[in-house]
Symmetry: C2
Subunit: 390 residues, 2 copies
């Protein structure tokens, strides 16, 4: 499907020119743009159709409408609920276990990379465009499964949500946790973020701290009357430069921690000895440590300096020994790897679900102008999940 | 004299309320505000009168008018020239040598510290207010000498100039150098900036450089794929922290150099390994080094790093062996000290004149809301210069 701008009839409040996305449909007049979201199509074509519905964070209405209508029309075996710009769907087959598949519908801002562009063909076909890899390929796989798997082995919950690409507070999963927490319950969560179609298990935690040095202002011509806070930051940078990150193996997976200065600032004027310098440090830590343990570690590393925690998010253990997770690994036919970046996997882990990332495309392409996804990976993900759930 | 707001008659273009400084006199209607700048008064009273004429840089017209009119009316033995908002005056007695006295008329912005406030009395009287110490006390001493010394031992040039407190390019001395260079010629320059009424000789030079480290961006979750430019700045801060500044003795005066980071910046985003860090360093160097030698020294200190010169100003040798300078030291009755900060003294030194700072008040009070000057120091400066020039 190619998404075309809609023309509204002349009238108060509407422009007569083409309406550019994000579209704000007048109540009761939702145009028939969703009819061609064909859930029975090849998931590659479904990916292409989703990419061509712009859905920058905060402007997901059109894509959420399209997903909702397609599910209601083409997957009548599912219970469907709309929550803000999130769409939730599930089977209620009374299975002994439930798998939650989750994918966000929003993208980072468009960067001259829409509409969709295709290169190659057949097994070598590649889809290019905003959101192709992050993560409409994964969303398409989920929609494909929703329509195809009428009697999955595990009960199935599908969570299409909004605002993942912006501040954590706006993430649609927060609202769903508050308003519909039972929709996030289950025995395994699969977040279909790009993982090169490999199972990435667990995820590392992240913590940001500010390490502050202080001094005393003075004119640089009489510097001995002051004390230079930037000079005093030298041991902070030295400890960072000399730090050896841990590489623990957890549940058979190799994690790699990190400790990186992400910002440094200090200075009053060109002729003043500065009285403050702040180094912002981002620590990525493996899931054998809690947030509190990560903080304690940072306070030890920067012992003798003022350390302030800016923000943090806990790590998630791989949890691959859980039965459903082991089945998924089996179905994938490949060794799982550790997830190093922080993803919404950790939100499910925090709710007690084993959770993995599994989706088409390379995470290193996310947020780039050149983002693209191989058709073969989209099909592989759909195949693995179909095998797992059939 | 207390400067009072003038009321203009009602009319087009004028407010009927009090006109606040900076005052813009309508052409040909210069009000009689200068009549009471009494050059025969005690220089302390003259200081008070000058403080009460607001003269923030760029708004010196009122004070320059007052100074010009007072000199023309009360010092008819002087040749007087107006140049922009600078006022120049000199004797032409055919003496074998000439002393140039220089003072800027402008101040930093007013900071709730006008009008003038007095505390104490007699020898303990102190004048408080914007410009009191920087440098209307010095200007008052110059105006006092201008009117009192009808037959000085050295010919005398007085330079009252504008825009010293702002960017170097706007400094009125630049314009005078271009348009009236002969007015800056002489055998000794005395810049009457605050020096605790001691002779401060020479001045240190200043140079600012940027020391830059580079790296490669990467996501902090995969930091080993990048290279952290902030961590790479660790040896730069280490060299700064461990640097021992020289303290050379030149012409019997003790100088103290300095090498200080005045700014540090680096960082892309909270989850990105940064690819650039810049440390701005201010070097203050003694007058036994040229600008080029100072730069070579900095390149040696930061060997292995990218060093970019931002700006610099040469140092000035004390030059106290010149006859007129020696006489001034003798008249002051106290040991001269080295000037560590950079002042316009260096502009005169660059023109070949021995040049010193000599003025009432503490330079550490300059630019502070609390600036003030002791009446006793104003009188002491006037006495020393009178003795020297009589």
């Amino acid at each position: 499907m190619v998404f075309r701008p809609i023309r509204f009839p002349r009238g108060r409040g509407f422009s007569t020119g083409p309406v550019e996305p994000p579209l704000r449909w007048p109540p009761g007049s939702l145009p028939d743009v969703t009819a061609s979201l064909d859930l029975t199509a090849d998931p590659v074509e479904l990916t292409a159709a989703l990419v061509d519905i712009p859905s920058v964070s905060g402007e997901e209405k059109a894509i959420a409408d399209a997903v909702e209508q397609a599910l209601r029309a083409q997957a009548p075996h599912l219970e469907v609920v709309r929550n803000g710009e999130a769409v939730l769907a599930r089977t209620n087959l009374g299975r002994g276990s439930r798998v939650v598949l989750a994918g966000h519908l929003d993208t980072v801002p468009i960067n001259d990379n829409l509409p969709l562009r295709r290169t190659g063909s057949g097994d070598d076909e590649v889809l290019h465009g905003c959101g192709a890899v992050d993560m409409k390929g994964g969303d398409a796989v989920m929609l494909h499964l929703a329509a195809q798997l009428r009697a999955p082995r595990h009960d199935l919950t599908l969570v299409f949500y909004d605002c993942e690409e912006v501040e954590a507070e706006r993430n649609g999963l927060n609202r769903i946790e508050r308003e519909l927490p039972e929709w996030l319950a289950g025995d395994l969560a699969v977040v279909c973020e790009p993982s090169n179609a490999a199972i990435e298990a667990g995820c590392q935690g992240t913590m940001r701290v500010e390490v502050r040095t202080t001094g005393e202002r003075a004119h640089t011509a009489r510097a001995w009357m002051g004390s230079n806070a930037i000079h005093a930051a030298h041991p902070v940078l030295q400890r960072l430069a000399e730090y050896t990150p841990r590489e623990p193996v957890i549940d058979g997976l190799q994690f790699r921690e990190g400790l990186q200065a992400v910002r440094i600032s200090g200075g009053v004027a060109g002729n003043v000895v500065p009285d403050e310098c702040v180094v912002t440090v981002n620590h990525r830590f493996a899931p054998d440590r809690t947030l509190a343990e990560a903080e304690a570690h940072l306070r030890e590393v920067f012992d003798g300096f003022e350390v302030t925690v800016v923000d943090g998010a806990p790590a998630a253990l791989p949890g691959l020994s859980a039965p459903a997770a082991a089945e998924l690994v089996e179905a994938s036919g490949a060794a799982p790897v550790a997830k190093l970046g922080w993803t919404d996997v950790a939100r499910f882990a925090a709710r007690g679900l084993p959770a993995v990332n599994f989706g088409p495309g390379s995470p290193t392409l996310a947020h780039t102008k050149q983002e693209h996804v191989a058709a073969a990976e989209i099909r592989r993900c759909a195949d693995v999940l179909t095998r797992f759930l059939s």
